[in-house]
Symmetry: C2
Subunit: 429 residues, 2 copies
């Protein structure tokens, strides 16, 4: 029973490993900072409400700006409303090493979604300052504007933002120019938020998983392989409404029976693919939807996501084949209509391997996985080498008061972020 032979203060293996590195995060400071930010917009049910451009969003950003300044960072807001803290590097000619995420939340959000990545970036800056260490590259921590709704911040910086004001469906319904002004952005000069191609050496985002894969695998760290692309369709199934009593089974064109085959085909094409794509029928409406009427028509949605554009194409093609087969078998015409598509954003192989090495060296179990939710890194990664670090999310819950990532998991993720920044600073030119 060797543990009884020791009376040293308990140190976890991760903490011990972290102590071997040059700079380590300050656990207490990080957790206190997370607590303080969670108090801004805290609701009676324990959820947090800091909608993009709201008064609480402005309060949260002001608090962050104050912390950044205390840490010796230069602070500015770009025209897309991104709040940026900067530590000048040793070599001004080098592009920036950037990290960040968002402070804004859904209406009843959690304490971690977005916030962790921003405050972990702040802790990296603070820890570097504590250690008296100046990186070669300038280091920027960004709180991107309004990630939960318009993503105007990350899109503005990446140059993928629309110039059309009506393209922005803001959560408060106010025009994007009015909203941007409220947080220090400037709509007429939005284009100037777009950074030049050579401006960023790499972008890192630490985020809670918002899924249960890591928890399920028992891993502490997820090395994100990229952010999945999405293909969204609507499907219309046309049958023949008829009396549920007087219409024999052989004379029916039952739109719901045909639609049920479609639901199972959607499930099957994703399950049977050797990768791990997802495909979902989330919405389904029956007409006329009466107990004694054979369903006459069904409208439904299909949402397909994967990291690979080729896999997305394969799945859509398989779906088209299945719809053809089901339509022929049931006599019900079926129409597939595209609603929208989002292209995947692969992570940088070099950034991924650096994160993985760091996790290994810190003694943290890790595995690779795609991010199937959108993040600021999705847009930034379209222009510059991108990597995301996931930490587990209990039961996969997010966007609610029930969202939970433990203190230790937050600190582990921050430690990986800090060490990855330092290694990239050495490796990148």
């Amino acid at each position: 029973m060797p543990q009884l032979l020791s009376n040293r203060p308990q140190v976890t293996p991760v903490e011990a490993a972290v102590r071997k590195t040059a700079v380590i995060p300050n656990r207490g400071r990080l957790l206190q900072t997370l607590d303080q930010m969670a108090s801004i917009g805290l609701q009676a049910d324990g959820s947090v409400c800091r909608r993009g451009f709201s008064e609480t969003d402005v309060q949260g950003r002001d608090q962050l700006a104050a912390w950044m300044k205390e840490s010796g960072m230069q602070v500015r807001v770009d025209t897309a409303g991104n709040l940026i803290g900067r530590l000048e590097g040793q070599d001004p000619a080098l592009p920036v090493l950037m990290t960040g995420s968002h402070l804004d939340t859904v209406p009843t959000g959690g304490r971690f979604d977005g916030v962790l990545g921003v405050l972990a970036g702040l802790e990296v800056a603070r820890a570097l300052k504590d250690a008296g260490l100046q990186l070669r590259h300038s280091f920027e921590v960004v709180a991107f504007a309004d990630e939960e709704s318009t993503m105007v911040g990350c899109k503005g910086m990446a140059g993928t933002a629309s110039a059309e004001p009506t393209a922005y469906a803001t959560s408060n319904g106010e025009p994007i120019d009015v909203n941007l002004k409220r947080i220090g952005g400037h709509w007429p000069a939005l284009a100037s938020a777009c950074r030049p191609d050579h401006a960023v050496a790499a972008f890192l985002e630490l985020h809670v998983e918002q899924g249960a894969v890591l928890e399920h695998r028992g891993d502490a760290i997820g090395v994100v392989e990229g952010i999945v692309g999405q293909r969204r369709f609507s499907i219309q199934v046309e049958g023949q409404p008829n009396h549920a009593g007087t219409t024999p089974m052989t004379l029916r064109k039952d739109a719901l029976a045909a639609a049920s085959r479609v639901v199972l085909a959607v499930e099957s094409i994703a399950q049977q693919h050797p990768g791990d794509p997802v495909a979902t029928v989330g919405r389904l409406e029956v007409w006329p939807n009466a107990a004694n009427v054979v369903p006459g028509s069904v409208s439904m949605t299909v949402d397909i996501r994967d990291l690979s554009p080729a896999v997305l194409d394969q799945l859509v093609s398989s779906l088209e084949d299945e719809l053809e087969r089901i339509s022929t078998a049931t006599g019900c015409p079926i129409r597939l209509e595209p609603q929208f598509q989002v292209e995947p954003t692969p992570a940088s192989a070099m950034v991924m391997s650096t994160i993985a090495s760091v996790a290994t060296d810190l003694g943290l179990n890790w595995s690779g996985l795609p991010s199937r939710a959108s993040h600021d890194a999705q847009e930034i990664g379209r222009r510059w080498p991108m990597g995301m670090i996931f930490v587990p999310s209990r039961d996969g819950l997010s966007h609610s008061a029930a969202e939970f990532t433990s203190d230790r998991q937050c600190v582990d993720g921050t430690a990986v972020l800090l060490e990855t920044i330092q290694r990239l600073d050495c490796a990148l030119t």
Copy 2:
């Protein structure tokens, strides 16, 4: 080319056969009477609206009563609101031979549903009077009250009506006592509408099929084998609502995918049964029903109909087995809750065989089939020997302006009714 060698007026084989019988219906009078009744409540779109207890219902009943009196019938309204015309028989000790159906319609009904059976009964009385023929049994033609909603008329006569006023969901929302008073019924004495066991020798109802079986088979006459029983259930499928992007296929409890298996199982248990039961999922609701959320729960209805209580039991048992299997396979709890059940009403073998002989003798193709819709005969048949004569309904459409049965089909059905009444009058004691 034998048809060119003849210059006799064209007589169809059915008309020729009918002319061999003692009494035949008057084709022109029947069709004109149908037209006149269709003009009461006629809507701009060609549909007919005579809701039970409405002003147009009263108009229709008054018109029928006038026609009955002109035909020498004694006319009365019983306490359940049934309008009854009676031709006295030769032998007052014999029970009554009865026919009838209903004059009331759904909100936008057709010209035939219900009406044909009442006016064909009137034509039988008129044709008997024309022929100077008095049956051995007294003959009654009944326009039953409010078939499309409460069925208070046929239930009152059969003694299956509830004594509880709130059990009657009337289409105008007014209390049943107020409604009955408006058409000459009398709620406080409802029980006296119930006829004694020995009162009725047989009941016949001519009705349009409201399905497409006869049209599909190319038959002129359907000999109804009985009115199906019905078992109605609600089904609840419980899954786990989750992010459609971040939840891998293997970690899902997708309530809609499980519910789709239930829809197909319901279809399959009816299709695979050697008889011709029907089973329908007509209503299905998904929660939360959003394109980017794995469905969390589904509620749906199942409606099962067959002539045989044993088959109904078998189907319900098969459904329970399937639900158990699907629940185990998907990890989604599934709950089956009875909503209501209606017991089947078999037709009288003796009445069926008489109808079939008549159709054969009149040269009309006929076949047996169940009635999968409710009719007044469903309640009357619980007490007395019952038979129904179906005539085809184009495309199986009913309860709409598009409902159509040709003049010839109406006359053929009436001829079968008239001859069947005469044969039963000879055969029954």
